[in-house]
Symmetry: C2
Subunit: 97 residues, 2 copies
């Protein structure tokens, strides 16, 4: 279901140790600032353009950009481009770990 507040997600691989997923943001769509306790998150941009917020910093996202949100650090993503923003997202440990 489309939501302007939440991107599309699908899981590629999941274990207690890691979750590898694909996040798809349509133009204007965002994932609001949030943080994960005890869980590191790594993003790798596959295509599209966006803005990454990490704590009080802001970073341009484009294909090839890699970003790390360490445990407890708030982060958010917004598609600021005209195309779909596709981002590989890796969480460790996995949500069930």
């Amino acid at each position: 279901m489309y939501s302007s507040e939440k991107m599309g997600k699908s899981t590629i691989f999941e274990s207690e140790r890691i979750l590898v997923g694909l996040n798809a943001f349509e133009p204007g769509q965002e994932h609001r600032l949030h943080a994960h306790g005890g869980m590191d998150k790594v993003y790798h941009v596959l295509s599209g353009r966006g803005r990454f917020l990490l704590g009080d910093r802001e970073v341009l996202m484009e294909a090839g950009t890699m970003l790390v949100a360490p445990a407890g650090v708030s982060h958010g993503i917004r598609n600021t481009g005209a195309e779909r923003l596709l981002v590989l997202a890796v969480l460790a440990p996995g949500p069930g770990g």
Copy 2:
């Protein structure tokens, strides 16, 4: 130091939960079959071509290919192309975790 048996490695991010690194294989260079107990490994090919061994299966590696070696499953990589093979490697938990 160059070794035909071992690729070049550098660490991008490391915590007890995750290690994100970059592996560079020169043409012909390989990482022999090995397995990690209790640690999942995810590879994402950035450039170049190679052959990925996972258990008794063999997969072609090229830009965009993603591969998962779950804990305990033996895996290996060989650069079978003419260019450097660049692979993002993510381990969870981190080696110190």
